[in-house]
Symmetry: C2
Subunit: 453 residues, 2 copies
């Protein structure tokens, strides 16, 4: 019997897909990275399915690539030859939502925005909101420690993860963390799993923290600038003034053009940067007015403030459209560098210089309040791999971010895409220690090999 037949036998009927076209569609994330040829896909419907899959994988030494919705931007869910894809997207139960304790217990396939909506029925919210939150899953968000727009105020996914149920490589079940807001019993295994890209275990349940939803609609502003540097200076001024925005997004001219070409947002010729900010504080309207004044003081050519939910949705909608708009231009290599906030203008200048130096089209958006930039390098669709000038520009941007005291990845993860630069940031001691930890959880090396570390 072939190993894959043993897997089919080990699971309830219909759980394993082997049609090559279907398997191929589950072997990719949202990057250009070409997958190999996996043996099949498991559509797990329960923790038992995950346990059975991992026991089988351990027995047959088959690599397993856990997967949420495949919206990742780093190749962390790209599946290789001879592996099995383990998709958690059908495990969609919100098992518990406790308004009194402000927690929810969820399966990994829950769509992030669905959890947020469920929480809002009780006056709460699930804060982490990656741009993909209408299509990405909590499990995927946990695996990559996803960020998002609101994390400038509320933190990243790890900051909302209290406890996990994880199926280990050999099929044993590990329960980490707690249901309480504080707890220090033993090592922080929850934090270790968050962001580990499925290389240490498969998350089958998560206890997450909910927060009070703001009582009033947020106040939102959009400001236009003649240059990215002025917009960057406005961000620095807003953060230094203690405005504590709940969102602070920067879009460059190339991004705005891509959106304008697609959806006609009436882009003015002199607008080279747009800043969209929000305050959800009790005195949000006053804070937004302060942020507006700081934009004007830093050279904004136009600023509009709104607290109408519809207008707000439109402004934020422009930002959430950014990645889709760029994908219309060609294949995309998405970077995710994060730098100390004070050097954001320097980083922006280097991105512009690298684009010119290597003759590459780069569209940049930034979670500017966090110093987290997403320069997107556009190249010809259909190429197996970005051309040399794109890699060279990407290399310049990564190295400059590290020189500025930054990091390769603020929120997307390492996946396969950033591994070639890992050594520059981490150094040999970190790498040795991480390999040691990996071996504790996955001695056979079957969990998403070649990712994260």
């Amino acid at each position: 019997m072939r190993p894959i037949d043993a897997l089919v036998n080990a699971l309830p009927e219909g759980r394993v897909l082997t049609d090559p076209d279907v398997v191929d569609s589950y072997a990719r994330d949202r990057t250009f990275v070409e997958p190999g040829k996996p043996l099949g896909v498991v559509l797990a419907a329960s923790r038992d399915d995950v346990v059975a899959t991992m026991r089988w994988a351990s027995e047959h030494r088959v690599p397993v690539v856990p997967r949420g919705a495949g919206t990742g931007l780093a190749g962390a869910a790209t599946a290789g030859d001879g592996s099995v894809v383990l998709s958690l997207h059908r495990m969609t139960a919100i098992k518990e939502l406790s308004p009194a304790d402000e927690i929810a217990v969820v399966e990994p396939g829950v769509i992030t925005a669905d959890l947020d909506r469920a929480a809002r029925e009780h006056g709460l919210m699930y804060a982490p909101d990656p741009s993909s939150y209408e299509i990405s899953t909590i499990g995927g968000n946990l695996a990559t420690n996803a960020g998002g727009l609101r994390c400038v105020k509320y933190g990243v996914t790890r900051d909302s993860a209290l406890g996990l149920e994880v199926v280990l490589a050999d099929g044993r079940i590990l329960r980490t963390g707690r249901r309480t807001v504080k707890g220090v019993t033993g090592y922080d295994l929850t934090g270790l799993f968050v962001g580990s890209e499925g290389t240490l275990g498969v998350i089958t349940s998560a206890t997450v923290r909910l927060r009070r939803a703001p009582a009033v609609p947020p106040a939102t502003f959009a400001a236009e600038f003649g240059s990215l540097r002025e917009a960057g200076a406005a961000v620095a001024a807003i953060m230094a003034a203690g405005c504590q925005p709940s969102l602070m997004e920067l879009l460059d001219r190339a991004t705005l053009e891509a959106i304008d070409d697609w959806r006609n947002i009436g882009l003015e010729p002199g607008t080279n940067a747009m800043l969209i900010g929000q305050s959800d504080a009790a005195d949000g309207q006053a804070v937004a007015a302060r942020m507006e004044r700081l934009c004007v003081a830093n050279g904004a050519t136009f600023v509009a403030v709104s607290s109408s939910p519809q207008e707000t949705d439109e402004l934020i909608g422009v930002r959430r459209m950014a990645y889709d708009a760029k994908e219309r231009l060609g294949a995309c290599l998405v970077e995710d560098v994060c730098v100390p906030r004070s050097v954001l203008p320097d980083m922006i200048a280097e991105i512009e210089a690298a684009a010119a130096r290597h003759d590459v089209k780069i569209c940049t958006v930034a979670h500017a309040g966090d110093g987290n930039l997403h320069p997107v390098f556009i190249f010809e669709r259909g190429l197996a791999e970005p051309p040399a000038n794109v890699w060279a520009a990407a290399d310049d941007v990564f190295r400059h971010a590290l020189e500025l005291g930054g990091t390769l990845t603020g929120e997307h993860g390492v996946g396969v895409l950033k591994r070639r630069w890992l050594g520059l940031e981490s150094g040999p001691v970190v790498q040795e220690v991480q390999q040691g930890i990996k071996a504790v959880f996955d001695p056979l090396g079957i969990l998403n090999p070649g990712k994260a570390i």
Copy 2:
């Protein structure tokens, strides 16, 4: 040459103390736990001293007990026979404080409140504030993942730790984390070290996050109740109303009596619980008034609100006095259970029942907004160990906390004191995984053996 002489030779002059009385004073934390007889104490003045100590310890297989100010309440810094105490309290440099990036880089011996004061000169604050923050060190806070009064709003020490420099067991230097507010390169080693009680490495530098200090003085209230249950209900109502207090402390009658006996706070006969709360929001005065009304609605017999800094300091001072006041009553076994907020009244009832059942004096304070309770079991000073009825009452409290979905320790750590209950919370898979991680960092088992896990 004896091993300790080799250590003296390996370090600059004056770094190693061997006088038995002096060594004994460095071998204890703030618990009753009797230490063994360490070989000596290293007063590290630099990272190089730490490296030399760890190399020596690895060569001679000598256990090393890292130590901050010795204010711990779990026996995590209690040193055993034949070990060496490695004190970091002389490494007190604030190496960098960047208002623009809202970070500081500090040595481990910096007193927590000193860093907070340094930050406030720039309109910032260092949020974590364990009750001991005027005498405890950042290094000790990191090692135990210390909580504090403000963490109901700002999170625990881990939430402010961005990056670490750690000397490993063999003397190699590991750098974890980053200077940016976000970052997901590799596994979360920073989070793993925070709360590991010196069992994985010795922290020699930390990059921590600062936050904007509130612009206006906080508004503070104190409310008196006839029963703990009413006070607990007021806490639940305040949290459910989304008041987001920056502090929410509960004191029981026994604690208030201990403080009153010492400092005469004018305790009324009918007052069986006091709640002290604070809002540092922009509209803090209005929020405090809301919290006041919710106290009255839940049975408060007296409430006072203040925004005068002096009155506020007096109210918070009552709370910060609690532990010193209890130590006047006898030896103390301090618990640190944390439960989901909604079951705080149940937990309080069980503590009262356990005190009656086992005839033990228990004084309780709670970081009530977090569900984190500190029942302090008082027993006769001079006993080597708490009497059987104290252990029995403590056991009842731990078990009940776990039954309620809580944890053994919200912020003090496991140390040696809570290890007998660890298995109840963690289970065998967690323990095996933690031992595996420990072995990656400390294959010889010389780093603070017998603690944390």
